[in-house]
């Protein structure tokens, strides 16, 4: 079973961001063998307070921890945010700011964004793509930007873009194969400590109970 987490940072109910996320998820599902994929949705609006708590105090609520676990153990990610002030929304960024570091290592990601007009579409290239690259994810080349007008008219332009992005993402995902959940943060430090301790001469039990 392939698991693709869907992270959406839409604020309203209903939300066009969520709508885009759902359409991308459905297109990806169609491109994979029937019944072979799970697409758990992480709707960040539900974690607003928990994300702020984690940011301010480092305290991660069990619900947020469970969202982290879902994401870290997924094979791929569909990440969708509204464009705010020429960037992703603060809520979207908060989630990835407090997500433990290696969670996205080597994870194929399909990025998408929504906004009032098409003029903000490069937010995908200027904000989302660099952030996911920094987090060592593998971002699919084709991203989707949906302006308000894309949800009107005949929608004939948005649907093929969704399909094309989904097809590219599935190709990437398939090429990457199954993914192992990265070791939790601290692994490097633990390895470093072990390596360093290996270099210390044996001094016996220093607290004296067995020494001498």
């Amino acid at each position: 079973m392939t698991t693709i987490a869907v992270v959406t940072a839409g604020l309203r109910e209903p939300s066009s961001t969520r709508l885009l996320a759902d359409r991308l998820a459905e297109a990806v599902r169609q491109d994979l063998p029937a019944g072979s994929v799970e697409l758990p949705v992480i709707d960040l609006r539900l974690y607003g307070k928990a994300l702020m708590d984690a940011t301010l105090t480092g305290f991660v609520s069990p619900e947020l921890q469970s969202a982290f676990d879902t994401l870290a153990s997924a094979d791929g990610l569909i990440a969708v945010t509204p464009a705010f002030n020429a960037s992703f929304s603060g809520l979207f960024k908060l989630f990835f700011d407090v997500l433990p570091l290696p969670s996205l290592d080597g994870m194929p990601v399909l990025i998408a964004a929504t906004g009032g007009t098409e003029r903000h579409s490069l937010v995908l290239e200027h904000s989302l793509r660099p952030m996911f690259s920094y987090l060592h994810a593998i971002v699919a080349p084709t991203a989707v930007y949906a302006a308000t007008s894309d949800f009107g008219g005949d929608g004939s332009d948005l649907s093929p873009r969704i399909d094309r992005a989904a097809a590219g993402f599935v190709r990437l995902l398939t090429a990457c194969g199954p993914r192992h959940t990265p070791a939790p943060a601290g692994g490097d430090e633990l390895d470093q400590m072990r390596a360093l301790l290996g270099g210390i001469p044996n001094t016996g039990n220093p607290n004296g109970t067995e020494h001498r």
Binding site: M52, D53, L56, T57, G58, F59, S61, P62, G186, E189, L190, Q192, M193, R194, L196, L197, G198, G199, I200, P201, N202, T203, N205, P206, N207, G208, T209, E210, H211, R212
Partner: protein, 382 residues
């Protein structure tokens, strides 16, 4: 003193009391800390530990000065730290400070090592935070060496070399203070403590019990892997956080404003969430007893329990009342209950007397064969 030790640890924060909007001066805070420690001694607690910080709003930048002053005015209290910064302090100076303290207080001291939590402390003391782990290892190794070896010739990466150096004064009875390694979230500290067979202290304040359980399990396992004994023989300490009133609802009502404004977790999770998800207990003495007794279910029988009771702007009078409750109602029950069913092979909390006795026994006993070494043993790597 046998079995477990109970005590308090302070961060030493100067925080405005959110109910009176008054902030103690640094002078008042330091004097209050002394009053708190003396009270802890009076009511029969075993341990007082102070943090080490080098920036406002904290006052304890010189722990052994504070601890020596307290030692002079107390009878039984064991003086410790929470924590002594092994990365940014000169380990030779740590050895000297604790050596003098140990002589002054007749062995009523040990030391808890940690890395601190404020990035700029590294550059302020001429260190590089990126080297935190190598600094920890090298500094601790040197600290051990100047304690354990009479004449030290040593060279390392982070400090001037020593040729023919002898620590003065030598540790009391040639038994250095017991060392704990403290960790909030770093598994490598459990590794370090396990490697040396030292104590491991889990902060146990900011994180859910499952997190503490993992850390302590790792430590116990590594303690055993490195040949210091069975996992249950490892020396474990826990932090904890409590606020008590006879009536549970009074405790919640009174503590809430302090919780809400607390420097570390204030303006974040609610008191109810934090109480549910972390070991924080706000309630009656009985509730504190029950919660605390539950700790051993996930860390095993352990040696030291320290509570944080004097932070977030709580007034001195309130803190002293907490100590009355601890000493009269909580700790006596905890001692009795923790002693029940405690396996015989679980060591008592280490003290100077116990370390001295162990040393004398080891000195007179014929040299034992070294234990069969596990593959990761120091013996293989020496």
């Amino acid at each position: 003193m046998s079995g477990m030790q109970f005590g308090i640890f302070t961060v030493g924060d100067v925080t405005r009391d959110p109910t009176t909007l008054t902030t103690p001066s640094e002078h008042e805070r330091i004097k209050a800390t002394v009053a708190i420690a003396k009270k802890a001694d009076e009511v029969g607690l075993d341990v007082f530990a102070t943090g080490e910080h080098h920036n406002p709003p904290f006052v304890p930048s010189s722990p052994t000065t504070l601890l020596a002053y307290i030692a002079a005015q107390t009878e039984h209290l064991l003086l410790s730290t929470s924590t002594t910064l092994i990365t940014t302090n000169d380990p030779v100076k740590i050895a000297e400070d604790f050596s003098v303290l140990q002589h002054l207080c007749d062995g009523r001291t040990d030391v808890m090592l940690g890395r601190g939590n404020t990035g700029p402390v590294y550059p302020w003391f001429g260190k590089d935070i990126r080297a935190a782990i190598p600094l920890t290892v090298e500094n601790y190794q040197l600290l051990r060496t100047v304690w354990d070896d009479e004449v030290v010739s040593w060279s390392g990466k982070f400090r001037a070399a020593l040729q023919g150096f002898t620590l003065a004064p030598r540790p009391l009875d040639d038994v250095p203070p017991f060392v704990w390694h403290a960790s909030i979230r770093s598994p490598e500290i459990a590794e370090l403590a396990g490697y040396f067979g030292d104590g491991f202290f889990a902060n146990h304040i900011f994180w859910p019990p499952s997190h503490t359980q993992q850390q302590v399990e790792l430590y116990r396992q590594r303690f055993a892997d490195y040949g210091h004994g069975a996992p249950e023989q490892a020396i474990v300490g826990l932090g904890g956080q409590i606020f008590m009133r006879r009536n549970s609802q009074d405790a919640v009502r009174e503590f809430r404003p302090y919780f809400n404004e607390a420097p570390v977790y204030g303006h974040g999770p609610s008191l109810e969430e934090f109480t549910r998800e972390t070991p924080l207990t706000v309630g009656s003495p009985q509730e504190v007893i029950e919660r605390t007794l539950g700790f051993r279910e996930y860390v095993g029988d352990y040696q030291r329990q320290l509570f944080l009771i004097d932070h977030a702007g709580l007034p001195l009078k309130t803190v002293l009342e907490q100590l009355d409750l601890l000493g009269e109602e909580v700790v006596p029950v905890l001692r009795e209950e923790f002693a029940k069913g405690r396996p015989a092979n679980v060591p008592d909390a280490p003290t100077h007397a116990s370390l001295l006795a162990a040393k004398e026994a080891a000195d007179t006993a014929p040299k034992a064969e070294p234990q069969s070494a596990p593959t990761t043993s120091k013996d293989d790597q020496a």
